[in-house]
Subunit: 448 residues, 2 copies
């Protein structure tokens, strides 16, 4: 049911075949790999960093267990001395990274891992897998929250995320990027995220009459009931909900809200708002859901649809308009020698790097400069050492702290870069030193 | 790192709030929920069933453990008697399903779960999550394999699947639907799928000269070496690979193949094929990879690009052109009374169902008829009972057997329905009895 206790074997086979070849050649020198996104998906002008905690925990736990070694041994690919070496292998490297919750941009290294090349290579698959998913979702969620214009957004995606791990990571990444809660109970339990829930159409359908379903639910949840009113007819459902709200009021209780999950949401919300207001329930909330994403939310915000909050599911949980990005983990330094790759359309920048961030007079983000790590440039250093010799360099921030980091960064970003459609491109430049190094190495490869 | 041992808590909160309300009302009668896909994503004319095994294992293991109950207790939502009830709750229901590997179509119930309504409701989230992902990916993979026109296709998706669970399920679902293997070592270990791998650009870059990388790899894998030749220049890389092939031949060994991962694949494959043929290595294989999907593969097949096999990654592993479908789990029967839902645009069909499949004189799939389960109609019954009283009804087929089921079904489907673009729609009809029942219930709701 779960992916298994030990994820060390969750890697691409070529990581292990290359490792055996490095081992045979005794190539044990340090390599630095840099993880970055090469281009923006449509309508994206920024990314939100997420997933680092899972990467660091994976690196700390990295070890092949006996069943893994037995399986590898059965493949007739690996020598006994190499398998023995793998059995003792732990991650002993250093990691620099952009903190979770921070905004980053195209071409900027999110994580740089420096370790003996075998280690740095085997971990590639998991590192990409987690940072790709979580940064993608955090970015998508931040767009949804932004588009909702101050109404709260909660994660309803679990049923259609790509598998169980994605369900957990979507809950965490979307909370990190401003969502108010999740429907995912296990994520609530594991991450301390507020859990939220209403009722389903099937609940209403299981009763002979809609109002009986509402009454039963209100009896079970006198202090937290939210009723789903669109199973048959939204206006009639609202009238029944008002009746139940009156019955609750007579018992000294309050109906918290109603949810609309289908149809023309803006029109229905107005009708339902009117019904509740006229019945004297101006503080009964209206929750909208059903196929929402940032584009729909922006439209509802523009139309001033009287929703108080939104449940956002599938399209946020799989980042439907951009379900993948061109993320790469590239060798940039080996044996203290910067390297690069010239494959068609896939050029990379050599060397260990730092990202320097510059702000305007009001603290707004102005531009980033990607330089070499040893360069001493003004501007905030975005990459910080988070792991040294395989151990965390310092206490990892809490999810609440990470939310704060995101909120501060996002508030400092210009509106036109945050735009839901056709955002402006944020200025990301390369330092003259880095450009010089790249040109030198390109010339050397060309003449070799 | 993993989702956790016990996935019973991996559900939406509303499943549990509804459950408490059912419990309070002592509504313990059987409900039947039906899982189906409402419409085809673009360019899809069929679906491949996958994910049932995970669902059945989840149902067999269903139980809230003590930490789960403690967490729920901490939420101030649930009564002590309900939490006590949850602690004893197991899945005791029956499951009918379309077998893994079989083709199915729009509106057809893939799974029908009949159980006391609390059970059938709580499991919804996981059931949708797994069937959605795995059927989506099996369908996508079958399209890739079909488009490759007889060349083998292997799964390289792990690094960009949405999380670790998706990485595992993509390997299994794509193998089930005709892929020849996976790069995912843990999936190889868990599912017995052949694992495949070559080398990465970083391996080549870590050596001073490309040919040294090739020699080192060939020394480590004298019987299974595949060399990646596009790190700097594909034609020059091919020439170096030929030299290594000659050195291997002198030692009585054989270079298995080369891989091209970037640029104009068809043109490069022709140039590389010519280089190897002229050097006397006509049996050295050429593997293509890099951003491939069924559309690219169909084009390479049409151009007769001389590839022997393909590695397909991201776009298959997230079903990039259709990363989600409109899959629903709907209450269709409660207390032995068929029910349906009338929400705008989301109408459902009432009652427990069966799918009857009709074939032409040559065994080709001709049309499906969705009827009520108790109807006795000609045609093959697609749904079979797979679980009774919470236990598997019979031994579950092996992954190899499931591959065979898929292969046979796929071979029986008309080419125009399998088309990569604009497929014809396969005939799916509803039985007169089912139509009559739907009309009756709709009238009754309208007049109530």
């Amino acid at each position: 049911m779960t992916v298994g206790e030990n994820l060390t074997l969750l890697t691409d086979l070529y990581q292990l075949t290359m490792a055996q070849s490095y081992f045979r050649e005794q190539r044990m020198e340090n390599a630095t790999f840099s993880l970055f996104i090469r281009s923006y998906p449509p309508n994206r002008g920024y990314f939100v960093s997420a997933g680092l905690l899972d990467v660091l925990e994976y690196l700390e736990d990295f070890a092949f267990d006996a069943p893994a070694l037995d399986y590898l041994g059965s493949q007739k690919l690996f020598s006994d001395d190499f398998l023995h070496y793998l059995g003792d292998l732990r991650f002993t490297g250093n990691v620099s990274a952009i903190a979770e919750g921070r905004l980053f941009f195209k071409d900027e290294p999110i994580i740089e891992i420096t370790a003996p090349i075998i280690q740095a290579q085997i971990v590639e698959t998991f590192v990409i897998n987690q940072i790709h998913l979580q940064s993608l979702i955090a970015t998508k969620a931040s767009r949804c929250v932004h588009a909702a214009g101050g109404r709260s957004v909660v994660d309803f995606a679990l049923r259609r995320t790509h598998g169980t791990d994605a369900g957990m990571k979507v809950a965490r990444a979307s909370y990190l990027a401003g969502c108010a809660g999740t429907s995912n109970v296990l994520a609530g339990s594991r991450y301390g995220i507020p859990i939220v829930g209403t009722m389903a159409h099937s609940f209403v359908m299981s009763f002979d009459r809609e109002i009986e379903a509402f009454r039963a639910y209100a009896a079970s949840f006198p202090d937290s009931a939210i009723l789903l009113i669109d199973t048959y007819d939204t206006v009639a459902g609202a009238a029944s909900a008002v009746q139940v709200a009156q019955e609750m009021a007579a018992r000294g209780k309050k109906l918290i809200g109603v949810r609309i999950d289908s149809g023309d949401l803006a029109t229905q919300a107005r009708e339902v708002r009117k019904i509740f207001d006229e019945a004297g329930f101006a503080d009964c909330k209206i929750i909208g859901s059903g196929g929402l994403d940032e584009y729909e939310l922006a439209e509802l915000t523009r139309m001033k649809a009287p929703f108080d909050s939104y449940g956002v599911g599938t399209k946020m949980g799989i980042s439907a308009d951009a379900p993948w990005t061109d993320i790469s983990y590239k060798l940039v330094d080996y044996q203290d020698r910067p390297v690069l790759k010239l494959s068609a359309g896939k050029n990379s920048w050599p060397g260990k790097k730092q990202v320097f961030r510059f702000r305007g007079s009001n603290g707004e983000l102005q531009r980033d400069l990607i330089g070499l790590r040893e360069e001493k440039l003004p501007g905030e250093n975005l990459l910080e050492e988070v792991m040294r010799n395989g151990r965390l360099s310092k206490t990892y921030p809490s999810l609440t702290q990470i939310r704060g980091v995101f909120e501060a960064d996002f508030a400092s970003l210009r509106e036109d870069v945050k735009a839901i459609r056709d955002p402006s491109e944020y200025a990301v430049e390369f330092s003259p030193e880095l450009r010089k190094l790249r040109d030198e190495i390109t010339r050397n490869i060309g003449s070799s």
